[in-house]
């Protein structure tokens, strides 16, 4: 499958509604954004699913740690995931 081939570059923005993801790493030079994400539970190993998308497909709502987090695709692309 295409996804497994690109599994190194899979990001949160690629997650599809039926998939179960797991956070691998936040890839950004922006320390403030990174720490902000970490304090919201975006750390290696956290399971994550896609809840729903806004009318134009951006931003999207993800479900993790029992709550709903809204993120734009531009930010979601900086979060590497693994799909189970």
């Amino acid at each position: 499958m295409a996804q497994q081939m690109n599994s190194d570059t899979l990001t949160l923005a690629d997650l599809r509604p039926e998939q179960q993801g797991e956070i691998v790493k936040i890839e950004t030079e922006d320390g403030v954004f990174k720490r902000r994400m970490q304090s919201l539970g975006v750390v290696a190993g956290t399971p994550v699913t896609l809840d729903r998308s806004a009318p134009l497909g951006d931003p999207r709502i993800y479900s993790l740690m029992g709550y709903s987090l809204g993120l734009r695709n531009a930010e979601a692309q900086q979060i590497r995931i693994r799909v189970k």
């Binding site: 403030v32 304090s39 539970g41 729903r52 806004a54 931003p59 029992g66």
Partner: protein, 704 residues
């Protein structure tokens, strides 16, 4: 402990700290179901069990080291003030995420009490929490509360009072990291103790060491003169990164979450379907956040809100109108003819009475605002709108200050503090005054009712939509004008839907009613008196003709219908000339050429000028002028005859957009820390308003 004992309420945004603060102290600070309603410290002193307590509500934070500006107030408070007791407020339904902050608070070594707030939601979701086990694992008492229902408040106060009268444990709880991290922490700690001998307790130096390794800019800046220390930190960080293929901040964050996940596995038991509790939220979101229905629904909800504000408001408004009429007639008959009579009847009663009738509309609007923000729908609205707003160079979360602006622009400007990026915040601040605040509502209700009675609610709705469009267009323009670039990341938690308490909704309405009445009896009252004097003086006017003589001649003629008409015309001409030559008339006529292209008369100019102070004065000005000139208390009818509908639209648009009121100008100057931007805001909005009103009067003139 010292007296009073300082107790800081610290928790994640939307964890309910402010509700708890209100329940503890009897304060009435604003609460809603979205993040960052509270942007500055709230402080109140109370006494419980003989212990004086100073309760501080700290704006919500997710972490003590995130350094984003919206968390700065909270972080600075914990770093700098060192409260005597920390009450860590946790949203019991979101423990997985909220315990992260708890792990950081543990490391401050300050005495803590853990509050599990919103326990009712957790119980409903079939979750059981072993609080005794949690208390021993966190090294702090645990109190269960439901702040909105005022449950558990006494238990919390008892725990605080008990803690205040005992000496804190010498060796508080400590989180253990893996051996590499622990070794690095130890080395930095030793270095710190050498630099600050005897000053630092072991808990404090460990806390500082962890903060520095985490890369906390604030703490690092504090130690920046110790070059060696900073070098050592960098060395430790790169060694750790080399060993773990992860930066130190991530390692520490992972360790914190590992601790809290492990803890939750021990203390939390799911007794039924985990999704059951928030099932309603899912169902509602399938509807409200639907990809096709979501946006039309948002517009529909806003339309219903303004339609109801107009039509439901009309019923009690009629009662107030009747009351005002009764009072005016009474005063009219009781007071002897003369200047004082005219001042009271045509100045005070007309101005104040003409404005107070809008009280029901304002209260109804605030009822809807309380529902929108209290249920959590407002957070959804900003999610739905983010893409559109992003297109205009705005941020989805800007919608919250914008909608807050429907109430009043002053808190809207303050609410821009939620925006992280400085430039984005400035732009949001400059467009906030375009939001149709409730002070402008009376103008629209009056005009829409007078000129477009059949679809008045829709016209009011259209004005609100126009205010949003004006804000968006301005955002595009300002994005080009203001140098720099960059915006915010959209990071937002969607809270579960909650039913706002009756108390909080009523409080919201009561608050708005009080504010409006205070305005009417303050600025409107004074304004009406000033306007009355300005239109009454000077009294030694040279008329274009000798009215006194002509009127006397007419009166002497035998009675006939022609005589009545002629007399009426003469008297009205005299009144009009008197007004035009008064101070008010002269100054309004002086600026009228500016408004001529828009089709405004000098009366409209006068209303606009006085509206600079506060927009409600616009209505009061019309009321005073017409009361004096036509002897009419039927503002709506008189207004209808005074201008064509196209001019009415132009006037509404101009009122909507022109210069913010004095309080808003002041708050922009303060928040932007520059009077130049406040001045810019005035100049920009005047130009914008003028151009749009011109377009409206031209286009409207051809259609209406």
């Amino acid at each position: 402990m010292k007296s009073p004992v300082t107790v800081a309420l610290v928790g994640n945004p939307n964890a309910g700290s402010t509700s708890l603060f209100n329940a503890l102290t009897g304060a009435q600070s604003a609460v809603a179901n979205y993040q960052r309603v509270t942007t500055s410290l709230n402080v109140r002193e109370i006494t419980h069990g003989g212990v004086p307590l100073r309760i501080v509500d700290v704006p919500g934070i997710f972490s003590t080291s995130s350094q984003s500006p919206e968390e700065k107030v909270g972080c600075d408070y914990i770093h700098g003030e060192e409260p005597d007791i920390i009450v860590n407020v946790l949203d019991a339904g979101h423990l997985d995420r909220s315990l992260f902050l708890t792990t950081q608070l543990i490391e401050t070594g300050l005495p803590r009490i853990t509050v599990l707030n919103m326990m009712d939601e957790v119980r409903r979701a079939g979750i059981r929490i072993d609080t005794a086990l949690l208390a021993s694992a966190l090294g702090s008492p645990v109190v269960e509360t439901c702040a909105l229902k005022k449950e558990g408040i006494d238990a919390l106060l008892d725990a605080v009072a008990a803690m205040a009268s005992t000496t804190p444990a010498a060796a508080p709880l400590r989180l253990h990291y893996d051996s590499h991290l622990e070794a690095a922490i130890e080395r930095v700690q030793q270095h710190l103790s050498k630099l600050h001998p005897q000053e630092l307790s072991p808990v404090r130096s460990r806390w500082l060491a962890i903060k520095m390794l985490e890369g906390d800019d604030e703490v690092l800046r504090h130690e920046s003169n110790h070059v060696e220390l900073v070098e050592e930190i960098k060395g430790e960080q790169s060694a750790l990164a080399h060993e773990h293929d992860e930066d130190t901040a991530s390692l520490l964050a992972s360790a914190r979450f590992a601790f809290s996940n492990g803890l939750l596995r021990e203390v939390r038991q799911q007794e039924s379907d985990p999704t059951a509790g928030f099932k309603l939220t899912r169902i509602l979101d399938d509807f409200f956040l639907n990809r096709t229905l979501g946006l039309p629904l948002l517009l529909g909800i806003l339309w219903v809100m303004f339609e109801a504000t107009f039509s439901l408001g009309a019923i009690p408004t009629d009662w107030i109108k009747a009351g005002v009429q009764l009072a005016t007639d009474l005063v009219d008959k009781t007071l002897p003819e003369g200047m004082f009579h005219d001042l009271v009847v045509n100045g005070v009663m007309a101005g104040v009475g003409g404005t107070i009738v809008f009280l029901p509309n304002i209260v109804i609007l605030f009822f809807f605002m309380a529902i929108l923000s209290g249920t959590g729908y407002l957070a959804r609205a900003s999610f739905l709108m983010d893409r559109v707003m992003h297109h205009f160079g705005l941020h989805g979360t800007t919608l919250i200050p914008m909608v807050a602006g429907f109430g009043c622009n002053v808190p809207a400007v303050m609410a821009t503090r939620v925006i992280t990026n400085k430039r984005a915040r400035l732009i949001a601040m400059l467009i906030a005054p375009f939001m149709n605040c409730s002070a402008r509502l009376p103008v629209f209700i009056l005009f829409a009712g007078a000129f477009f009675a059949d679809m008045a609610g829709t016209v009011v709705f259209a004005m609100y939509m126009l205010s949003l469009v004006a804000a968006m267009v301005s955002a595009v323009l300002l994005n080009r004008i203001i140098p720099g670039s960059g915006g915010d990341a959209f990071v937002m938690e969607l809270p579960p839907y909650r039913l706002p308490t009756l108390h909080s909704v009523l409080h919201h309405m009561w608050d708005s009613a009080q504010g409006f009445v205070a305005k009417v009896t303050g600025v409107i009252l004074v304004g009406s008196i000033v306007i009355w004097f300005l239109q009454e003086f000077p009294r030694d006017i040279t008329y274009s003709q000798d009215f006194e003589t002509v009127i006397a001649e007419q009166t002497a003629l035998p009675d006939s219908p022609e005589k009545e008409t002629a007399l009426k015309t003469l008297k009205s001409a005299q009144a009009q000339e008197k007004l035009e030559k008064s101070y008010l008339g002269r100054s309004a006529i002086a600026v009228t050429p500016l408004f001529q292209p828009l089709g405004f008369s000098w009366r409209d100019s006068a209303a606009i000028m006085t509206g600079f102070v506060a927009k409600e004065v616009v209505v009061a000005t019309y009321a005073v002028i017409y009361a004096q000139e036509k002897g009419s208390d039927q503002l709506t009818e008189t207004l209808r005859g005074a201008m064509p509908p196209a001019t009415a639209i132009a006037f509404m648009i101009f009122t909507l957009l022109y210069a913010p009121c004095l309080s808003t100008i002041a708050i922009i100057g303060k928040e932007a820390q520059s009077w130049r931007w406040a001045g810019f805001s005035v100049a920009y909005s005047l130009t914008f308003a003028w151009l749009l009103a011109l377009a409206a009067s031209r286009i409207g003139g051809t259609f209406l």
